[in-house]
């Protein structure tokens, strides 16, 4: 059996014998003879791309890798990678140029019976088993979902609590103190630790991550919101008060218009930063792009995959950043 590898290399398995040919070097032969493996190189030396012992020979070429042990002989072909980004080897569309593909997409001759070429192509890309575009997209969506739900939920819970924690809005000092310490506590424990705590009740999955973000951010928002409330401009309240308005109206017209921009911009800022946290949290709760990335790093197999995920994450966060900036601009207006 002969395998053609990249970079002009070939590997040939012939019973217990492996012949690995490298252009410019020659052919290396590794043969299992009884309990021993005998290595034969053109110059009699063992170059540093071959690791050999009497029990195991590993040849690491540019185009592939071959392993011979007493029990088995294996050849791994490289060249997998970006080339397979769209179509894997088993797809009928693999290895075609863009022009061919475009032609195929609109030709009526069906490559895969019972399916139009375009949908077959999209299906093959979508279900690409190397790059897993479907899973990756789902993972990104799940990450953003965790961030969105967690952030918004936290904001909704934190707002009324913030009034309770703000000087000038809650006359009772013990209440203020109590609420503030609660904020401190939930904020002081990182979301990652909350995932561990919540895992028992909710099990693995995106909801747990969402709740972890929600819990931590309730504390953060509570603190920020109550500070914003304490910093309101008294002049505006006074302007409203001087007309004889009722206390609720002081809040509505003197306070809310002032704090809404602060709150909104904080919420949107956190939406972006939580997208980043959700990546990490997902890695622990078992969901999202973060899990894919951390595991790709930990198993250290495919650095191109790691790079791909990092780029995706950076893009995702930057898109969220851009989006939240746009939303901020639309909702609050430029200053």
């Amino acid at each position: 059996m002969r395998v053609a590898l990249d970079a002009g290399e070939t590997a040939e398995i012939d019973g217990p014998t492996l012949r690995y040919t490298r252009p410019g070097y020659g052919t290396v032969t590794a043969a299992v003879q009884g309990r021993e493996i005998v290595l034969d190189t053109p110059d009699g030396q063992v170059p540093d791309w071959i690791s050999a012992s009497s029990a195991r020979v590993t040849i690491t070429g540019d185009g592939g890798r071959a392993v011979v042990t007493r029990a088995r002989t294996e050849v791994y072909a490289y060249s997998f990678g970006w080339e397979l980004f769209f179509f894997t080897l088993d797809s009928p569309f693999h290895g075609r140029t863009l022009g061919e593909l475009a032609g195929l997409a609109f030709s009526s001759e069906r490559v895969v019976p019972g399916q139009s070429n375009l949908s077959a192509m999209i299906g093959d890309i979508w279900n690409n088993s190397m790059w897993r575009h479907k899973d990756v997209l789902w993972a990104i969506f799940e990450t953003v979902l965790m961030a969105f739900l967690g952030t918004m939920g936290a904001a909704i819970i934190a707002l009324p609590l913030a009034f309770m924690a703000a000087k000038g809005f809650t006359p009772l000092k013990p209440v203020r103190f109590g609420v503030r310490r609660i904020f401190d506590f939930v904020r002081g424990v990182d979301a990652l630790i909350w995932t561990v705590v919540l895992a028992r009740a909710f099990g693995p999955g995106p909801l747990t991550g969402t709740l972890a973000i929600l819990v931590t951010d309730t504390g953060t928002f509570g603190k920020i919101f109550s500070e914003a409330l304490e910093n309101v401009d008294r002049k505006q309240i006074e302007g409203v008060a001087s007309t004889g308005a009722k206390p609720m109206q002081h809040y509505r017209f003197g306070v809310v218009p002032q704090v809404v921009p602060v709150l909104l911009s904080q919420i949107l800022y956190f939406l972006e930063s939580n997208t980043r946290s959700a990546t990490v949290i997902g890695a622990i709760t078992g969901g999202g792009i973060g899990l894919m990335l951390t595991q790709a790093i930990q198993t250290q197999k495919d650095w191109e995959e790691v790079a791909y995920y990092i780029v995706l994450i950076v893009l995702m966060v930057m898109v969220m950043d851009w989006l939240s900036g746009k939303l901020r601009g639309a909702l609050i207006g430029r200053r």
């Binding site: 050999a52 561990v196 895992a199 099990g203 078992g286 894919m292 595991q295 198993t299 197999k301």
Partner: protein, 279 residues
């Protein structure tokens, strides 16, 4: 009593997507059999699965012996072991393997005095529990950092240990293997075999320095509250898997093995005791 979905937790140690893929055929079969959606969950570490089982949000998992012990110690009423994998020689055990880089000159525990030693996950049987009991018996010293070893670390998992040893971050580490076949292949099954197949390490560069007594294979556990019919269905499916679909069984069992046989809690009492003693 009915269930509306069936949730399987899969332990870490492998790329999450690979875990999903290896178990996909099993999932599909279970779904067909049970008639309810079957979902796979892949938390990043052992603890995620254990918490899910104890909290009742996962219905099934294949645990390590020590992880089972932890779940049992947390809540004895939560789960029960039903099946265990049997090796080709009909035994159901494997070994913790201590190993080091071949060029480090370390060949036994005795050479490790004053060196850095790496465990895997604290909930791993072979990656932590058993070695942490058996190694001190041989070295006559505790596993505390600075006592016999200069430092003892957790790397986080079997893959990480193997990488850490081959990168030289730790001088030696422990992982698991069935102990059968050739060292150069990474044995027939186990973490070393997987790492070597994946091209992560070159087995020529590693040497075995220690091997534990056989450790009972971890059980497949089911939540006790599940309806009896569901338990029965799952047990039958698992037991017959090697005959129904050999490829699927290979993926599901992470290597070549004979099949599954029933097991009960009693097989793990000694592990539970060991774990208790570690507290």
């Amino acid at each position: 009593q009915e269930i509306d979905e069936f949730r399987i937790g899969i332990l870490g140690g492998e790329n999450a997507q690979d875990r999903m893929t290896s178990n996909e055929c099993y999932r599909a079969k279970a779904e067909e059999l049970l008639g309810v959606p079957v979902k796979l969950f892949t938390p990043a570490d052992y603890d995620g699965v254990i918490q899910g089982l104890v909290g009742g949000t996962l219905d099934m998992a294949w645990l390590g012996a020590s992880a089972y012990a932890k779940a049992y110690l947390t809540d004895p009423e939560a789960i029960e072991p039903v099946m265990v994998k049997t090796n080709l020689d009909k035994s159901y055990g494997y070994h913790a393997i201590g190993f080091a880089r071949a060029d480090s000159g370390i060949t036994s525990l005795a050479d490790l005095e004053g060196k850095v030693f790496g465990f895997g996950d604290p909930n791993s049987t072979s990656g932590y529990l058993i070695p942490s009991i058996e190694i001190p018996q041989e070295t006559n010293a505790s596993m505390e950092s600075g006592d016999y070893f200069c430092e003892v670390r957790f790397t986080g998992g079997h893959e990480q240990t193997i990488v850490a040893v081959s990168n030289g971050d730790v001088d030696a580490g422990v992982t698991w293997a069935d102990g059968m076949g050739e060292w150069e292949d990474g044995y027939n099954s186990g973490a070393l075999r997987k790492a070597s197949d994946a091209g992560l390490v070159d087995m020529n560069e590693l040497v075995e320095i220690w091997k534990s007594k056989p450790i009972p294979e971890g059980p497949i556990v089911l939540r006790k509250d599940l309806p009896e019919r569901v338990k029965l269905d799952i047990t039958t499916l698992t037991a017959s898997l090697p005959y129904m679909d050999a490829d699927c069984a290979y993926n599901f069992m992470a290597g070549e093995a004979l099949g599954f046989q029933p097991i009960s809690h009693d097989a793990y009492t000694s592990i539970i005791e060991a774990r208790k003693s570690q507290i």
